[in-house]
Symmetry: C2
């Protein structure tokens, strides 16, 4: 069981990211419901991992969890299936105007995404710049390059780098964030090789 | 938010299944850790879905969830990636000697598994007969046939039917429950067609 975070400052940061992430998360969930309803893909958000310590049964209506703790996720938030391909990704949001801090993604999540690619899956991160209302898809292998750079240099990805290395997803009515349109292009590239 | 179950009797049943399921679940988790450590596959158990209502912050050590409720899972417990193939399954245990009751699997989970097959994934259920210490893998399409039968006839799968239609998995030291050995055979069959 992992109680996190350890420091007040980092904790406040987590809460603030979680709130900021809410709206983008809902956009992605809505998109996934569209994909499922239209039989396009089966992609789900994983539940938030919690360690349950104490459960009460106050009535026959059901169990109430009275003590539980957040655990650090061992994988990413989203995975699923699209035309026989395994899809795995993390969705992040930032209020920054010009860059996305690498530390917004857990290092083990980056490792997980890279590993998914190695095992033949499609792995990426979706980054939403709130200020510009721009969403970019960045493949795991490229995300990894930016993480490697962050160990000795720049700690973030500049939005111009995302415009160069990532793929812009235009928000639309339905599906709201059509990231599978980009995934289709990536698959076509793969098969063209 | 779904509070379940609604009746005391069905609740007691759930608890008892959950306890019985513990050991088998741990066997599967151990198997998945083996697959991951040996770079064979990336298969994870999804967290238990809970609806979090109230969170306290008693100290800088971290957040404590003080009120939460179990939600009915919308998908299955396990999914992941094996040699580029999407894997999705549910693991169930029974103390019955000669049959596995269909109602031990939620109907929407059966629908989910059938849908996974349709979208090009590998979907199945693992059934552990505690009394015989026998584990069977049954493909989603066959599970569906037994569910269809249960609407007008027999409500369970007889162990002899599983011996006929399913695949016996022999328990071993490492990996403990090598279900991917069967999945490999299924994939070879698919490609032989």
């Amino acid at each position: 069981m992992i109680k996190y975070p350890n420091k007040k400052t980092s904790f406040q940061k987590e809460v603030s990211y979680a709130n900021r992430g809410m709206k983008f998360e809902e956009m992605i969930n809505e998109t996934n419901r569209y994909y499922l309803a239209h039989d396009i893909a089966m992609i789900h958000k994983k539940p938030i991992p919690v360690q349950i310590v104490k459960v009460d049964y106050p009535s026959r209506q059901g169990a109430v969890i009275k003590e539980a703790y957040y655990k650090i996720p061992s994988t990413t938030d989203y995975n699923g299936l699209f035309k026989g391909h395994h899809i795995d990704f993390e969705a992040k949001e930032t209020n920054h105007k010009t860059s996305f801090p690498i530390k917004n993604i857990h290092p083990h999540q980056i490792d997980h995404l890279v590993n998914i690619e190695k095992h033949g899956g499609i792995a990426f991160v979706l980054i939403h710049f709130r200020v510009h209302d721009e969403i970019y898809l960045l493949e795991a292998s490229k995300l990894k390059q930016y993480e490697d750079r962050s160990f000795k240099g720049r700690k973030s990805i500049h939005i111009d780098e995302l415009r160069q290395d990532g793929y812009l997803i235009k928000e639309s009515i339905a599906p709201r964030v059509d990231y599978l349109k980009i995934v289709k292009q990536l698959l076509e590239k793969q098969f063209a090789k």
